[in-house]
């Protein structure tokens, strides 16, 4: 009976989200700018929560508590620093400038913006291709998370592939009908929902174990090293490289980067920026501390399972545990549908239209986008069945891949002397090198290249430095091409 109840809550929640998407669809116009950017009309609350919900995926909701459970609550500091502070600053540095340029010239994607500035279809396609490449493991991560979530909730009655398939079906359905307005609306609902539910969950569990002091005391008794800052997994190298690669990576995620274009006004951007650190902390504090406290609780976490559902099954009633899982699935869905939506705009606008069929009708483009989404999500679903790593590992790979795009893009935004060749070299070389490192751990015949060196320093950090050096160095050595137009990125005095 409780099984039916749990599944009912999860599916019911997904259906409500879908209904909201359909309402948004009815008020939508049929232009690409409306479908992908909601006609650049998003206000503060919705912008804040849509960015928030998009950031918060399986990586945060399950991966985070799992890591805090295994290695200590320092994960809160790592994520708080990178998301709450560093990403916020980058939001201003990259996002505000992109918003100014985007609303002047009508850009919808990052590749389109760069391609237009440098007069290069090749660069446009390169940026889109690289983005889609790293988007793949991140979509897969959501499916893995959903699969694991339902296994945990139903004690294995719903198999791993069943949960992954359920969320795949929902996200395809969702993206193909709703567009950004629907995504943004449901994100707001889901962001508010997740925030309240995680606090209720913390309160519930804490009252059962005797309060914050008792929970921390039990945690320290079981794992004394959790109390002191640093140590174990958390070397300075790990903390710094994780914070930098993820924060820079996040700004280049298609679904986040495209959010930079959607604000209604500068005031919207400013308010969102100032509220951001507090909002991030409000979610991370209870979620990750629950994971860390779980180390001191008399619970058994099976191999490959997530900590959060196990804790809730122990201390909260079944319907509430189901509600939290529904919230987490919602988080994954809001990440995935945004990713797929942005991914489809990269695919149709930056690859299909310029390279395959420039004269395709709007109607045809819309169909290509939907077929692309379905295909991409299905392939990611198939790949997720092989479970190629933990949630944190898979996520980290994708973040680092995107992080390598960030410095060349910042260079292009702020340094008019940047040339097309500089951009191509600064993007292509580090990407190829990083891809080699990642593939070497998957392909059995070649020796595995190390991902970290000297006590936790990520090689992606070195490759980020290389991307900046190449962009600047090659730009200085080459002349700007005739097709390039630096004034496209000028924002002064209009």
């Amino acid at each position: 009976m409780t099984l039916g109840l749990s599944l009912g809550v999860v599916v019911g929640y997904l259906v409500v989200a879908l209904a909201l998407g359909l309402v948004a669809y009815r008020v939508s116009e049929t232009t690409a700018e409306d479908y992908y950017l909601a006609s650049r009309s998003i206000g503060t609350l919705v912008l804040l929560f849509t960015t928030f919900a998009t950031l918060l995926s399986a990586f945060t909701f399950f991966g985070g508590p799992n890591l805090a459970y295994a290695a200590g609550p320092e994960w809160l500091v790592v994520m708080g620093t990178l998301d709450g502070v560093l990403f916020a600053v980058l939001w201003y540095v990259v996002g505000y400038k992109q918003w100014l340029i985007g609303s002047r010239n009508g850009y919808v994607t990052l590749g389109e913006m760069l391609g237009d500035r440098f007069g290069s279809v090749g660069l446009r396609a390169l940026v889109a291709g690289v983005s889609l490449l790293w988007l793949f493991p991140y979509v897969m991560l959501q499916q893995m998370g959903a699969g694991e979530a339902l296994v945990g909730l139903t004690d294995g009655v719903v198999p791993y592939w069943g949960g992954a398939a359920l969320i795949t079906a929902f996200m395809i359905l969702y993206v193909t009908v709703a567009g950004l307005r629907g995504v943004a609306w449901t994100d707001t609902l889901q962001g508010l929902f997740m925030l309240s539910i995680v606090w209720i969950a913390a309160a519930w569990v804490l009252s059962a174990v005797g309060g914050v002091g008792a929970a921390t005391g039990a945690m320290l008794e079981a794992r004394p090293e959790f109390g002191s800052f640093g140590g174990g997994t958390y070397t300075p190298g790990f903390i710094v490289s994780t914070a930098i690669t993820i924060a820079f990576g996040v700004t280049m995620f298609p679904q986040i980067n495209q959010r930079f274009f959607v604000a209604k006004s500068a005031a919207t951007l400013k308010r969102s920026f100032a509220l951001w650190p507090v909002l991030v902390l409000l979610l991370f504090l209870p979620a990750f501390m629950l994971g860390a406290w779980a180390a001191g609780m008399p619970i058994e976490v099976p191999e490959g399972a997530n900590v959060l559902p196990v804790v809730l099954n122990e201390y909260a009633p079944a319907w509430f545990a189901a509600l939290v899982i529904a919230g987490a699935m919602a988080a994954m869905m809001s990440s995935s549908d945004s990713m797929l939506l942005s991914g489809s705009s990269y695919f149709t606008r930056d690859l299909y239209r310029p390279l395959v069929d420039a004269t395709a009708s709007e109607r045809r483009e819309a169909w290509i986008a939907r077929i692309g989404v379905a295909l991409f999500a299905t392939l990611a679903f198939v790949a997720s069945l092989f479970r190629p790593g933990t949630l944190i590992e898979v996520g980290d790979t994708a973040f680092s891949g995107f992080a390598l795009l960030a410095l060349p893009v910042i260079c292009a935004l702020y340094w008019p002397r940047t040339t097309r060749t500089g951009m191509v070299a600064g993007i292509a070389v580090p990407q190829a090198a990083y891809l080699l490192v990642v593939l070497s751990s998957v392909v059995p015949i070649v020796p595995t290249l190390p991902r970290t060196v000297l006590g936790g320093w990520d090689v992606a950090l070195g490759l980020m430095a290389l991307s900046a050096l190449l962009t600047v160095g090659v730009s200085l050595l080459t002349a700007p091409t005739a097709e390039g137009d630096a004034s496209r990125f000028a924002v002064a005095g209009d």
């Binding site: 650049r40 009309s41 609550p73 809160l76 500091v77 790592v78 708080g80 620093t81 709450g84 502070v85 560093l86 916020a88 600053v89 201003y92 505000y96 400038k97 100014l100 609303s103 309060g211 914050v212 002091g213 929970a215 921390t216 320290l220 004394p224 959790f226 109390g227 002191s228 800052f229 640093g230 140590g231 903390i239 914070a243 209604k264 006004s265 500068a266 005031a267 919207t268 400013k270 308010r271 920026f273 100032a274 509220l275 951001w276 650190p277 507090v278 991030v280 902390l281 504090l285 501390m289 924002v491 002064a492 005095g493 209009d494």
Partner: protein, 82 residues
Amino acid sequence: MTRSRSDLVWIPTFATLVAFAVPWPLWGVDRVVAGLPVWIWWHVAWLGLCATLFSLFVRSGAWERGMGRERAAAAESGGDRR
């Protein structure tokens, strides 16, 4: 001109805000205060400080001056531009 020079103070301010969001001075400290390790309180307080300074920054108009958009910003402050 003095205004835009004092705007540059924001650059080291942001660098400090990012760098010390990680409680480096408390490395290895294991004191528990009010139920949580003391370095978690540092982080919580620091993010509060960030939110405060961020809102001061957006109100100061330093960014608009840096981008050469004072006039556009003044026009916008009357209401949303679009």
